[in-house]
């Protein structure tokens, strides 16, 4: 799905945990996330720490969207 959206010229970042799949399949901008049941969260952390974690991950995603890339790049 990531690639099809990107074909329209829309920069897209894939936030996913199993980045090996992401890379094999061919996403260009990848942000590695925490775990399959909670990619941008972590219920084992306190609320404040978890929110900070999510904020940092989404920030990285936005950075990815603002960065030119030539090939698969991790952020």
């Amino acid at each position: 799905m990531v690639k099809e959206i990107e074909r329209y010229g829309i920069p897209i970042v894939h936030m996913s945990t199993i980045t090996t799949i992401s890379e094999s399949v061919g996403a260009n901008r990848i942000v590695p996330t925490i775990a399959i049941p909670y990619p941008v969260g972590n219920p084992n952390l306190s609320k404040v720490v978890e929110e900070d974690l999510r904020e940092k991950l989404v920030r990285r995603a936005l950075t990815a969207l603002g960065t030119e890339v030539e090939e698969t790049t991790y952020f």
Binding site: E4, I5, P11, S16, Y38, P39
Partner: protein, 347 residues
């Protein structure tokens, strides 16, 4: 009763001319011209070629809409049971034209198509999924063999007979994975395969590894503070009650939900994705689709806005074919809505 076949050839095989006639518009002749004649003879009593369409290769590729319309009209006039195109051997433009014929006849008219090409013909990729493409040599010297294979396949198809494996029948595998019963259970076949490997004997893997294509990276956003960002997920996050009944696995559809004014997905959304422990996503769906953070960044001015629609589907067991379709449909909406960038989260 003999079956009716409509035949398609290019300007050269249609005996009109060479490169100089590549721009000719399509015509339909009632006679059997060129390879159509040979094919008709091979089919004997079983089928008859009722018309030959001759079209310039450049014309087909440059005036696709008109060419396709001509094909549709011709088919409706002649009412064939089968359409045959080519064989195109290694001629690229001819192969693309044959592929174009196969596509419209198979997709829109629901009539089977047979054609023939060499393995490197650029038209093969599309043609093979829409028609049966017989493997040929790279030049017209292979015409006799090609027509013979095409006629054999045609006879089987018209009679509704089951076709053998692609490698036995001489056509390119269409890529269809068919589940069938074996006389041995899977573990037994696995042990036998390993023993064959130890002995250096030949074996056939039952699952060829997929090859994924690449997409050129889209240009980066110049000014994030003005950008409209869309949030998409394959984590199966849907509004409570799953109003559109998106499947828990092997999704056949995607959903789009208005999130304007919402600061988070909590309380109103949950997950129906059957492939992961749902407890944490149900407590706080933003752990899968981080609307809360995007909204925060919007308020802080880091990004321009969050697109008012949130897109979702279930990733587990969902075929790549469906994923491609969903991606195309969602991408189209995002493009039309002037979305500048997207974040897609997966589980």
């Amino acid at each position: 009763m003999s079956y009716k076949v409509l035949y398609y050839v290019n300007q050269f095989f249609g005996q009109v001319g060479g490169e100089d006639k590549a721009g000719m518009a399509p015509v339909m002749k009632d006679e059997k011209v060129g390879p159509a004649l040979g094919f008709d003879q091979l089919m004997g009593e079983e089928a008859e070629v009722v018309g030959t369409i001759i079209c310039g290769d450049n014309y087909f590729n440059e005036n696709n809409e008109e060419a396709v319309k001509f094909i549709i009209d011709a088919v409706s006039e002649k009412n064939p049971d089968l359409v045959v195109a080519g064989p195109a051997f290694n001629a690229g433009r001819y192969g693309m034209a044959c592929a174009g014929v196969a596509k419209v006849v198979a997709d829109e008219l629901n009539i089977p198509v047979i054609t023939g090409m060499y393995g490197e013909n650029p038209g093969l990729e599309i043609a093979r999924t829409k028609s049966l493409v017989v493997e040929t040599n790279d030049s017209a010297a292979g015409m006799k063999d090609a027509l013979a294979k095409m006629a054999d396949l045609a006879k089987k198809m018209l009679k509704g007979e089951k076709l053998g494996y692609p490698e036995d029948e001489g056509y390119f595998a269409q890529g269809k994975r068919l589940t069938v019963f074996s006389d041995k259970r899977g573990s037994e076949r696995a042990v036998e395969m390993l023993l064959a490997r130890f002995k250096g004997e030949e074996f056939k893997s039952e699952l060829p590894m997929p090859v994924f294509d690449r997409v050129a990276p889209a240009a980066a956003i110049k000014d994030l503070s003005k950008a409209k960002i869309a949030l998409v997920t394959t984590g199966g996050i849907v509004p409570n009650g799953n109003p559109d009944r998106i499947q828990s696995a092997s999704a056949q559809k995607w959903g789009k939900y208005n999130i304007a004014g919402k600061d988070s997905l909590e309380g109103e959304f949950y997950t129906i994705h059957g492939g992961y422990d749902p407890v944490y996503a149900n407590e706080l769906p933003d752990r899968v689709a981080p609307l809360d953070m995007l909204r925060k960044f919007q308020k802080e001015g880091l990004i321009g806005e969050v697109y008012e629609y949130f897109y979702t589907t279930t990733g587990t067991g969902t075929s790549v074919g469906n994923a491609i379709t969903f991606g195309k449909e969602i991408g189209k909406e995002l493009k039309e809505a002037g979305v500048d960038a997207a974040i897609l989260t997966s589980t």
